[in-house]
Amino acid sequence: MRRGNDLRARNHPGYWAFVVHRVSGLALAAFLPLHFWALGRALEGAGRLESFLRWTDQPLVKFAEWGIVLLLAAHFAGGLRILALEFLSWRDWQKSLAAVAAAFSLAAALAFALGL
C-alpha cells in the first residue's frame, strides 16, 4: 500500500539519537526485573546476595554490566535531550544536544569501566 523511508532519509543526528534512546530503553526495561530479582536475594540473607555477586565476577557478566551502565547513561542523556527539546525554546542547537548526550554517556560508562 505505502512505503516508509530507508536509511538514506533516516541518516541524521536526531534520528540516531532516537534509535539509541529507544533501543537503550527496551534493553533497560528487560534488565530491570532481573536487577530487582537479584537484589531481592538479600531478603534471603547476605550470603545469597554475596554468592550472586561472585557469579557476576565472570568476565562476560562484567562486560554485560558495563553495557547496561552505558545504556543507562545513554538513556539518561537522551532523555534530557528530549526534555530540552520539548520544554525549552530552541532553534539551532538541537544537533549539539545529540552530541552532548553521546559524550555524557560515554564518559559515565568509561568511569564505570575504569573502576571495574
Binding site: 526495561a29 530491570l32 537484589l39 531478603l43 543507562l72 547513561a73 528530549i82 526534555l83 564505570f112
Partner: protein
Amino acid sequence: MRSRAETWLWIAQRASAALLALCVLVHLATMIYAVRGGLSAAAILGRTRGNVAWLAFYSTFVLAATVHVPIGLRAALGEWLGWRGRSRDAALVAFAALLAVLGMRAVLGVFA
C-alpha cells in the same frame, strides 16, 4: 475521553523522567564509587541497612521507574509490533505491577 487519558500518560512520562534524571545521576555516581575494589554484599548492605535516606531514595526510584517504563514500552509496542488496544494496556499494567512488587521487594531486602 481517550485523548485526555493519553495526555495524562504523556504528563506522567515526562514528570517521572524528570524525577528519574535525578535518581539516575545519584545511581550512576554511587555505582562508579561502589565498584572500585569490587562489589561485595557486605559493602552494599552496610550502606543500605537501616538507612532511611537510602530507603526513601530507592523507593522513589523504583516507583518512578514503575510509571516510566510501561509508558515507554506502550509506544514501542504500538509502533514496532503493531500491538495496540486493551490487551496491550492490560499487559502493561501487569508489567508495571511486576516492577513495583519486585522493585519494592529489593528495596526492602537491602534495607531490613
